[in-house]
Symmetry: C2
Subunit: 758 residues, 2 copies
């Protein structure tokens, strides 16, 4: 095999098998698609609603694509030409040994650019295709719910599985292809692949998140709170926007986000694996994670296929069926990983690391469940505070959210420590590799996880369609059950998404250190200047004032990011409120004689979501560059640590608090403390509304943001090592970047420059 | 001079002068006290209310003292006997050169214990005496307001100045005495002094903060929101508790907190100064900060004395008079510091560092003002969101609070960088010294700051008394003006308190590094085992997995702490709500015929505030020990960085958001969006209520907490260097500590073990 001259025949076969499994996963997705599309779309009225959702969702996605295409184009060019500043690695020269230096340079340049596009396009496919399928699925679920619970469940879950298998398949395909082509020179292209996927995920998360919550909050504030009509009532002008939002936020956004985590764990695993290969001379450090992922895809296919409800099934049954699928997949994985470690790796450490990832996913899940599920004390306590009004309910929620952040951080800390203990006495790079393997293990069952997650908005939308067209009570009951199951599965995935983001970021942080060390060593060997500190000698010392300052700046970014996002949602929601209020005054609308102009609300959300994309991306991309230029690579390392630590705490806090408030409201709606319409319920609705943008916009957007910052740092490290603030050009560039950052903040805060004129 | 053999005669005289100035400051406080006590206490009715406040406040303080005395006693013993594990430093042996090793050991042991008690007692005096004076002042202000605005202003401000001068005087006295006795061996005792003050401040902050907000939130929720009677209405059973709360929280808590910052900046300045003395052989590094502080005390005396309103004065006039006093003090300081640096230090760097501190205080103040003052966009925007309900108002507030945290962190980062630039090219310890001097500079005008801050609750209480006894409208107007001024001055001090806490913590972090390095060097020279890493060789490397884990744990502590505190306030407020509701049903109460049982509410608050003291202190003290024992001294360094970075962000966020919500409510009460009683107002009240415990309990409590953790680490460092997790005894101790921490968390969460039975 080219570039992998020392691969055993088992390893060569294994690699091709992994590639085949990735394609198999994609084929399975197509097969499921055919199954779903063959189902009926229900009555004309149902299709009418569905059509409105479909058009709104597609319009959003194409407008978003238009907004971000220039930036994608820009980075493609930058990544191609970067090869003239950051020359190909020694491994690349070895890999394409027969060619001239210029030829290799061009090949690597193309490799970086194409890998970036591939990452971006794959992420886009997962998000867009997954969402389009969800939209196709929802009306079919609504229709099937008129026939049987089990059929509705099957359609909803399998539609979700399509996105799941796309995530799995494309993530594995990209990593494997790059590895097959570039061999040990893969890190060069892998970073581009990771960056493309992460950047797109950031766009999908931010845009989708703002869209969905602006619509949701706006619709609820006027509809439920002011006018007192139920959720998803057809007279509410924002109801279609709300349903579209579920798709662009919970489907497209979440899928792109998990795809990106899935991809980045492979990227960091392979980068650290390549480093180990160069130390040990053995290829197994790279083949192992790919095989683990391959097994994961296969086991997800088997597990997800098993999910189907009984004829007389209800929600409890549905949940247990989904869980059965999950545990089947998990069982297959654990057994296979054990044998793989034993007979291929010839050591138990690799197995323990991957296994730790599976355990981590389960523990994070249990913690989230305890703090956000209606059956446990925290949510009950929050609900009880509703009796003394929204203020105490909110305070109790903050207290719970702060606490969960602590436990989740401690679990992450314990996981990192488990790598320290597993690889005790070995070179620190093994510990980092162990952490990366934990990330690989954690996301092994991504197929199942995404299926469970996408299930949520599909069921939610089906329920909304049912409400809007007034379906018969039996069908409504089926959908209400599915919706409830969807809320649980969504919460589970969210915990895993954040946990895996942090683990992936920690591996990237490790990769950053390894990378800078390597570059500095190479440059020193060539007699070049590498700045005043060499990280391989010092590590990243937070006791150095500049590094501490870097950490302060890094830690501040998630707060800035969250501030701007929450602000955007609040502003857009206010616009929606005004619009919906206006439409309620249209004569005949409240009586149901006149249809509201749904597209107005859809338009407001679409345009609000667009405005934040570029400024927020610029902040994430430029801040690490400024820190690196002005304070040096060690300080940038400090900033990465800062952003991971503070981002993790803030993200968990926001996600969980929002979830807990949401469920506290549900408890009350189920009849506690006076039930719907009571003062307690009103207090709980306030909590839920405050929590919405925290849990569905700001919190989840931090996942890709943290990784964008890490990947940008990794990509820029070789340049940053060469230049620092002693160079006039660097200072000028840094100042320009700072101006762009400040401009972005102002632009975002004011909702674009146009709004100032208004 | 003993222990300072190389002191110049100027330096000896200067030291005695500083001691004299400290005493002078205290004398000035006594003089002011005499002035205040000679004023009349108003009518019998006024004295009745005042008496109730006085009794409630005193009862709280003595009960608190009883709760914490055992812990104080325990630590006194521990600090004394610590000398048998951590032997006196080489400097101590030199200082007491004529004595035997055993004698020196006992002297240093006594020194540590006595310094600890001194720190604790001074902190207690500042808090207790200051608060008692505030209580004496408030009724006299109420009475004077019936005569003239200027007299009322003068009494209120001068009463505040008493606390201010106590803070200044005692802080400087303690540091100077220790230095005169121990010379270069001072760090040993200084740490005890700092720890005593900080621990007490933690108690006062936590206890006072919980007390004041439980009463405030509880009183408002029923009184203002449910029943619709005004604030401070005599029929509200929690009204006295609320007024007591202002004193124990805003007076005693804040004063102890700022005293502790004032003290800790001296402590860290002197420790780093001693390190520089041993490098350069020059005493000026220690004398300089003491002289700066001495000048500060003198200038505060002059500045504060100038504050008095005109006869026809109104609030604008009052504010400008207070500002005139402040800028006079600041002017005197800047000029004196310049000459001091020029002619004594013979270098401009020391001046720049101290000056940076003054600039920092002003910038933090301006940022806080912009984000919390009613005249600027942020608060106006928050108020505008009230039109779409409390949810959007809350979200906007969160967005604003997140943003301020970012700017404040960047200012702190810029300040640290300014030290880096000022001391460019010199040993890193100079940079740390520079940061410490910035802290010294920042708190130079503590006398003025505390005076301004204490002024707030005094005016607030006077206003409350006026409301309860129905004073004549003219007098009420005077007090309303004073109250408004107090709100502004309080906000200013809060920003400085948090900023100085972080700067002080960063200096302590620097001192930790210096200290551990010194201990390890000494031990290595003596051939002893110092663990696997030597910090003087490595620094604190966050790229080492254990250190990263340490940073994660450290960063989590402020979140845990805040969670428990908010939880305590919410729980206590709920009890108050129930109690006040019950009393409103007492026949004749609403008609004013029957007086409520104020002492019931006072009792609830007192007992709620007690319960949290010991568990929260244990968490702060034991967590760094556990990290140090199980993960090592380098990881503990990581934890310190984590706690500072995350604590700063969270503290600023909580303090500012609360302030902004409070003022948004005030804007509406001044007539915007329908004014009092409108839907917008109700929404704003929810925001204010949520913000209350954030800005007055959890946020400020993080200041002393961060420093307790840093000081505990500094104190324990010499032991932690010797023992780590390879030792069975250490593991057992760590496990016991973890159990105590978990027990404390559970105890705090449930409001004590008794409540479980109920």
């Amino acid at each position: 095999m080219p570039g992998l001259s020392n691969a055993s025949s088992f390893e060569v076969i294994a690699l091709w098998c992994v590639l085949f499994i990735a394609l198999l996963g994609l084929g399975y997705a197509l097969l499921l698609r055919k199954q779903i599309m063959s189902k009926d779309k229900g009555t004309v009225k149902m299709q009418e609603v569905w059509n409105a959702i479909r058009i709104g969702a597609n319009a959003y996605l194409s407008r978003q694509l238009k907004t971000i295409l220039p930036l994608i184009g820009f980075f493609t060019v930058v990544l191609f030409f970067s090869v003239y500043i950051i020359p190909p690695s020694a491994e690349a020269m070895k890999r394409f040994a027969g060619m001239s230096a210029e030829q290799v340079t061009i090949i690597i340049g193309i490799g970086r650019a194409v890998a970036f596009i591939m990452g971006a396009v794959f992420s886009l496919i997962v998000g867009q295709f997954g969402m389009r399928m969800a939209v196709q699925g929802n009306v079919r679920v609504a229709s099937a719910s008129r026939r049987s619970f089990s059929e509705a469940l099957k359609i909803a879950y399998r539609t979700g599985t399509i996105t799941g298998m796309l995530t799995d398949g494309l993530g594995l395909l990209g990593g494997t292809i790059i590895f097959i082509i570039f061999g040990l020179a893969a890190p060069d292209a892998l970073l581009g692949f990771g960056f493309g996927g992460t950047l797109l995920a950031l766009f999908m998360r931010v845009g989708g998140g703002i869209y969905t919550k602006a619509a949701d909050v706006g619709a609820d504030l006027v509809g439920k709170v002011e006018v007192g009509i139920p959720e998803d009532d057809a007279r509410n002008a924002a109801v279609i926007a709300d349903l579209v939002g579920d798709n662009v936020g919970d489907c497209a956004g979440m899928a792109a986000d998990i795809f990106e985590s899935y991809e980045v764990t492979i990227v960091s695993g392979l980068i650290l694996g390549v480093a180990l290969v160069s130390i040990t001379g053995k290829l197994k450090w790279i083949i192992f994670p790919l095989l683990v992922r391959g097994i994961g895809v296969l086991s997800s296919m088997i597990g997800t296929y098993l999910v189907k409800g009984n004829k007389d099934g209800k929600s409890a049954n549905a949940m247990s069926s989904i869980n059965k699928g999950f545990y089947t997949s998990a069982g297959i994985c654990v057994v296979s990983f054990f044998f793989l470690a034993q007979f291929y790796m010839h050591e138990w450490r690799a197995f323990l690391s991957v296994f730790a990832g599976i355990i981590l996913a389960i523990v994070l899940d249990e913690i989230t469940k305890y703090f956000t599920d209606t059956h446990f004390k925290p949510v009950k306590d929050i609900a009880a505070e509703s009796q003394t009004g929204s203020a105490t309910l909110l305070l109790k929620g903050l207290s719970v959210g702060f606490e969960v952040a602590v436990w989740q951080v401690l679990v992450i800390a314990a996981t990192i420590m488990s790598s320290v203990i597993i690889y005790q006495g070995m070179d620190p790079i093994y510990v980092l590799y162990g952490v990366a393997m934990t990330g690989i293990g954690m996301l092994t069952l991504t197929g199942n996880n995404v299926a469970m997650d996408s299930f949520g908005p599909i069921a939610d939308n089906a329920n909304g369609i049912g409400e809007m067209v007034d379906l018969e009570p039996e069908a409504r009951e089926v959908m209400a059950h599915l919706d409830a199951v969807g809320n649980t599965t969504k919460a589970i995935t969210k915990a895993i998404a954040i946990g895996s983001a942090v683990i992936a970021a920690v591996s990237l942080f490790g990769a950053y250190l390894t990378d800078v060390e390597k570059v500095q060593k190479t440059m020193m060997a060539a007699g070049q200047f590498v700045g005043n500190t060499t990280l391989f000698a010092t590590g990243i010392r937070i006791s150095v004032p500049e590094v501490f300052v870097g950490a302060l700046i890094g830690a501040a970014i998630p707060w800035l990011f969250s501030s701007l996002i929450i602000n955007a949602v609040t502003r857009a929601a206010s616009l929606i409120v005004t619009e919906v209020r206006r439409q309620f005054h249209i004569p005949g609308l409240m009586e149901g004689k006149v249809k509201p102009e749904y597209d107005k609300a859809v338009g407001i959300c679409t345009s609000a979501a667009q405005k934040e994309l570029i400024p927020l991306a610029l902040i994430s991309i430029l801040t690490p560059l400024v820190v690196g230029m002005l304070l040096g690579v060690e300080a940038l390392g400090g900033a990465l640590a800062g952003v991971i630590i503070s981002g993790q705490l803030l993200a968990v806090f926001m996600s969980t608090t929002g979830g807990a408030w949401d469920n506290a409201k549900k408890t009350i709606e189920d009849g506690l403390y006076g039930g719907k319409g009571s003062e307690a319920h009103k207090a709980a609705v306030v909590g839920d509304t405050v929590g919405d943008p925290l849990k569905d916009t700001a919190g989840p957007a931090l996942n890709p943001m943290i990784k964008v910052i890490n990947l940008v740092s990794l990509l820029a490290a070789p340049i940053l090592v060469q230049y620092n603030r002693t160079n006039v050009g660097v200072i000028v560039t840094a100042v320009i970047c700072i101006l762009v950052i400040v401009g972005s903040i102002l632009y975002s805060k004011n909702g674009g420059f146009e709004s100032k004129k208004a």
